[in-house]
C-alpha cells in the first residue's frame, strides 16, 4: 500500500469504518512507515482533543419542559382539528346522503304524485275557471254566439288565431271569448254553454307540432280534458260530466 493510499484511508481507519481486510492493510502499513504512523497519531491526538464532555452542549433543563408543553399544546390542537375535520366530514356526508335519498325518492315516486308541468298547468286552469265563474257574465269579453265575431275579436290581441266554432246544433253553444294569462303567456279562452253548465276552452300554440291523445283529469270536482292538435294546445274544463265533456272535446277536434 502506498503512503498516499494509506493516508486517504487513515480517516476511515480511525473512525472504524474500514472493512477488516482494508483495516489490516492500513495497520500493517502504519507499522512499517514512520510518516504514516505520525499522520495516524496526529489524527488520534486530534480526536482525543475533541473527546470528552467539555465540547458537548447539553440541553438546559427548562428546554425540555418548554418543548413538552408546546408538544402538549400541539397535540391538543391536532386532536381538536381532527375532531373539527371529522365534524365537517359528518355534516358533508349527511348532506350528501340526504341528497341521495331525495334523488332516489324522487325517482321512485310514481309520476302521478309528482307535480309535473301539466299538473301545475291543470291547477292554474282550474283557478282560472273558478275565477271566471265568480264574475258576472263569467268574464266574457266578447259576448257573441257568432264565431265570425268572436274570432276577429282576438286579432291583434294574440300572436295566433285560435279556431272558433259554434256547436249550437249539438247543444254546445258558443257564448263568447276572452283573453287569459296561462302558462306564462296570453291565451285564448272560449266559453261554451250546455244547459246551465259552462265550459272554458283554453287555446294557445303548442311547441310540439304533432298531436297527442286526450288526457283526462279531475280536480276539485271539475273535469279537464287536454289534447294537442294542429300545433295548438287545448284545455277544456267544466263541471259537466266527463262523458259530455268528451263529446264536446270530440266536436272541437272534428270541427277543425
Amino acid at each position: 500500500m502506498s503512503c498516499q493510499r494509506a493516508q486517504e484511508l487513515i480517516h476511515g481507519y480511525v473512525d472504524g469504518e474500514l472493512d477488516l481486510v482494508r483495516s489490516l492493510e492500513v495497520e500493517e502499513h502504519i507499522h512499517g512507515c514512520e510518516i504514516c504512523a505520525r499522520a495516524y497519531r496526529s489524527q488520534t491526538t486530534l480526536r482525543s482533543s475533541l473527546k470528552g464532555d467539555s465540547l458537548y452542549y447539553r440541553a438546559p433543563e427548562k428546554l425540555q419542559k418548554r418543548i413538552q408543553s408546546s408538544l402538549r399544546k400541539e397535540a391538543k390542537s391536532e386532536v381538536s382539528k381532527r375532531a373539527f375535520d371529522r365534524r365537517w366530514l359528518t355534516v358533508g356526508a349527511s348532506l350528501a346522503f340526504m341528497l341521495l335519498i331525495g334523488v332516489v325518492v324522487w325517482r321512485l315516486v310514481p309520476r302521478s304524485i309528482r307535480p309535473s308541468g301539466d299538473e301545475l298547468l291543470a291547477q292554474e286552469i282550474v283557478s282560472d275557471h273558478v275565477r271566471s265563474l265568480q264574475l258576472e257574465n263569467h268574464r266574457i269579453d266578447v259576448i257573441s254566439e257568432d264565431p265570425h265575431t268572436v274570432k276577429p275579436w282576438f286579432d291583434g290581441k294574440l300572436d295566433f288565431a285560435p279556431p272558433v266554432k259554434d256547436f249550437s246544433s249539438q247543444d254546445f253553444s258558443l257564448l263568447g271569448g276572452r283573453l287569459e294569462y296561462l302558462n306564462n303567456r296570453t291565451v285564448a279562452a272560449l266559453v261554451y254553454g250546455r244547459r246551465k253548465h259552462f265550459i272554458n276552452l283554453f287555446i294557445w300554440p303548442s311547441e310540439q307540432a304533432g298531436a297527442t291523445g286526450e288526457m283526462t283529469t279531475q280536480r276539485q270536482g271539475y273535469n279537464l280534458i287536454h289534447w294537442t292538435s294542429s300545433g295548438m294546445n287545448y284545455w277544456a274544463i267544466s263541471d259537466l260530466n266527463s262523458v259530455e265533456l268528451h263529446e264536446f272535446a270530440h266536436l272541437v277536434q272534428q270541427g277543425q
Binding site: E8, S42, L46, L50, S54, A59, I67
Partner: protein
Amino acid sequence: MQKQNKLATFEEAVLPHLDAAYNLAHWLTRNDTDAEDVVQEAYLRAFKFFGGFHGADGRSWLLAIVRNTCYTWMQHNRSPELSVPLDDELHEIESKDLNPEALLVQRADTLMVRQALEELPVEFREVLVLRELEEMSYRDIASITDLPLGTVMSRLARGRKRLQQALTNHMHAEVLS
C-alpha cells in the same frame, strides 16, 4: 386517547435525544438562545411528521430535522455563511507539514478547540460534530446531511485538516505572545 398515544410514543422515541438535538443546533447556530428556539421548532416539526417515522433510529431522524430547521432558520435570520470554495484542495494530504504540529495540538485546551471548531465553515463543522461528538457512522451522517458517503468522508478529512491547522495557528500565536 389517540392524542395520548401519539404524544407518549413520540416522547418515548424522540425526547431522549434532546441533548443530541441541542448539541447539533448549538454547534450550527453557535448561540444558546438560537439553539433553543431551533430545537423547539424542530421538535414541533418532528411531532407533526411523526407519522412518517417508522425507523428504529430516532436520533438520526430527529437530527436530520434539527439540521434542516437550523439551515432554514439561518437563511431567514442571518446572511448566508461563506460556503466552501470547490477548489479547497490547498495543503491537502501533506503529512510532512502536519506531523510536528501534532504535539502542539495535544496541548490545546478545550476553549481553544471549541473556538477552532466554531470557526470552521458550517459544512465541515456539522460532519465533525456528528462524527466526533455524536460518534455517528458515516452512513448515518450521510443520511442526516443528505450527502453521498464519499462527500461525507472527504469533508471529514478536510475538516480535520482545517481544524488541525487552526489549532496549530492558535498554539503558535500563544507561543509568540
